[in-house]
């Protein structure tokens, strides 16, 4: 039916008074991709979304839809898009009238409209809810109606602004699941704003990290998460800083990378002697007691290390480890800290798979991650 569209932008700037709230050099959402825009509150995420969605005019810069420049006045372009926000913002009317809002604007005939509203509600798990008053729904139900209202338009670009931020984890889990399925089935390009990187990771294949209006990292989720470009981004994502190393050799597609004397195994194709950045997500690093016997397994990286520091991160612990000079970060649950008796100075064994390591040539880019 509809085909997803590529959305991109260059040089976007937006000021409120004298304060620049958005200053983003480049934004890219390939057709069919799901791009998460993450950052702390006040980073300009929602304003960026409003500009990309052609809802607000930027002070500078240009948005492109499938390569063609578009703006707030391009009603045709806007008709390819739809959005849902953190608060569902339902109109004072029935569920059916809310869901039909965009269809009416598109002059879809009444019978067809009824059919589409019905099937859209059924898809999102609200079969037969048409005649309820929209303002009497619970948070999770209202959010479903808001999603149905956007999805019924079969948008080629979908914008979601923290759609699950105010929901309980149980309600949220079901909704994330239903939404992910629909995005997959309908093949939309999706821009997803959130302040929760775990939520972002579970949905997006590309990530942009924003801070104070600027994009501080932008690229495939895996790269951004494993190779954050600076300390602030690393902290915000709860990641470690990338390590610097040199490719020492390669056997059957598995690289051996020399990081200050430690040899880390990673999957990739790079020439010997190449200077590289190496990153591992803290969640992917397993810790074992220093004297535990660990069998040969699919985890190619096994080192002895010393705990340097323990700190709380949300409701987990972040453990900084010294591998003969190279600093690695692991994330562990509080009960693991207790059971293993982790404390600074303690010796542990560190295990992670070669597939969990991300390697990038140092020469392939500077701040921006390709």
């Amino acid at each position: 039916m509809s085909r997803p569209m590529m959305l991109s932008a260059v040089g976007l700037k937006k000021r409120f008074g004298s304060r620049t709230v958005v200053d983003v050099d480049r934004f890219d959402a390939p057709a069919g991709s799901t791009v998460a825009v993450i950052g702390p509150s006040g980073a300009g995420k929602t304003t960026l979304l409003a500009i990309l969605g052609l809802l607000e005019k930027p002070h500078a810069g240009q948005v492109y839809l499938d390569g063609a420049p578009v703006g707030v006045r391009d009603k045709a372009a806007r008709m390819n898009m739809a959005a849902a926000f953190q608060s569902p913002y339902l109109f004072k009317a029935s569920v059916a009238e809310n869901v039909a809002f965009g269809l009416k604007l598109r002059k879809v005939p009444a019978a067809e409209r009824r059919r589409l509203v019905e099937s859209s509600l059924a898809r999102i798990g609200l079969e037969g809810w048409e005649s309820r008053d929209a303002l009497t729904l619970s948070g999770g139900e209202a959010q479903r109606v808001a999603l149905a209202r956007a999805l019924v338009l079969r948008p080629r670009v979908l914008f979601l602004d923290e759609p699950f931020a105010s929901l309980d984890p149980l309600v949220k889990g079901h909704l994330v699941f239903d939404l992910a399925r629909i995005i997959r089935e309908d093949e939309m390009t999706t821009i997803y704003v959130t302040h929760d990187h775990a939520e972002a990771m579970s949905i997006a294949d590309r990530v942009m990290v924003m801070r104070e209006g600027r994009s501080v990292a932008h690229g495939p989720s895996d790269e951004v998460m494993k190779l954050p470009p600076d300390q602030w981004t690393a902290d915000f994502l709860g990641a470690g800083r990338p390590l610097r190393g040199v490719v020492a050799g390669s056997v059957e597609g598995v690289l051996s990378i020399d990081v200050s004397g430690v040899h880390i195994h990673a999957v990739g194709v790079l020439p010997e002697g190449e200077k590289v950045l190496v990153g591992v997500r803290p969640e992917d690093v397993l810790l074992f007691d220093g004297d535990a016997g660990i069998p040969r397994s699919s985890a190619r990286n096994r080192f002895h290390a010393v705990v340097v520091e323990l700190k709380m991160w949300g409701v987990m612990h972040q453990v900084t480890l010294d591998l003969e000079g190279a600093l690695l970060t692991a994330r562990v649950s509080n009960s693991s800290v207790r059971e293993m008796g982790l404390s600074p100075g303690m010796e542990v064994q560190v295990v992670f798979k070669a597939t969990a390591v991300r390697v990038r040539s140092e020469s392939s880019g500077s701040g921006e991650i390709p």
Partner: protein
């Protein structure tokens, strides 16, 4: 308390004692109030929508005009209209002074800024993201404006009722430009002033009870609009 007792007894008798110009007073009151409010609604609502829902050059001026209009005392409005319509004034040739039309003109100048101002508050209370949401679903600026008015409808109704209330309650402006001519431009408020100064408390009480009935009906409507608005509000 005898004075109150006598006056109330007299007030009850009055309607049965035939005409005291009572019917004329009531009809004139309604004519002026309804006409002035209708015109005030037609002029005030679009201005209120503009001020409350958009940013444009000249918005500051419009806000200042609205606020000034709400602040200017009715007697001053009466004076200005009086001068405009006086024999030597620019609209003198129309010979409107001491007519119902003169009173409507003065009352429109009183009600329009109230309706515009309260409409703008009601409209400004519609969440901006609700409007972004409508836009993102494909609404044009006109469809967005209709949606805003629909969402703020109870506030707009309360604004119109408040304008009506001000027109019905006020005395200064109509006293000046209407002249309180019996059978022609006498309305409830000016009649009350007249009768109470003459010591005709019975008639004054009768007129006051009528005025109170009208005012409380309007206030009940405002309260109902605001109350329904709260109940239907987003929690």
């Amino acid at each position: 308390m005898q004075v109150f007792f006598e006056a109330i007894v007299q007030a009850i008798r009055l309607p049965f004692e035939g005409s005291h110009g009572l019917l004329s007073v009531i009809l004139t009151t309604f004519e002026v109030a309804l006409l002035a409010t209708l015109i005030g609604f037609i002029l005030g609502t679009p201005v209120g929508l503009l001020i409350g829902a958009s940013r444009f050059r000249g918005r500051g001026l419009l806000i200042t005009l609205t606020n000034t209009g709400m602040a200017v005392p009715p007697v001053v409005i009466g004076l200005v209209v009086m001068m405009l319509l006086s024999r030597r004034g620019p609209l003198g040739p129309l010979e409107l002074l001491y007519t119902v039309d003169a009173m409507v003109i003065a009352q429109v100048i009183i009600s329009s800024p109230i309706i515009a101002g309260l409409t703008s508050s009601a409209v400004a209370a519609v969440p901006y993201r609700l409007r972004l949401q409508a836009r993102s679903l494909g609404a044009s600026w006109f469809q967005e404006a209709l949606l805003i008015l629909k969402e703020a409808r109870l506030g707009v109704l309360a604004a119109v009722a408040t304008g009506l209330g001000a027109v019905v309650r006020g005395v200064g402006a109509v006293l000046i430009v209407g002249g309180n001519i019996e059978g022609q431009t006498r309305v409830l408020t000016t009649a009350i002033v007249q009768e109470s100064r003459r010591g005709e408390f019975g008639l004054a009480i009768a007129l006051s009870l009528l005025l109170l009935a009208i005012v409380f009906a309007i206030n009940a409507a405002i309260t109902w609009f605001q109350h329904s608005g709260e109940k239907a509000g987003r929690g």
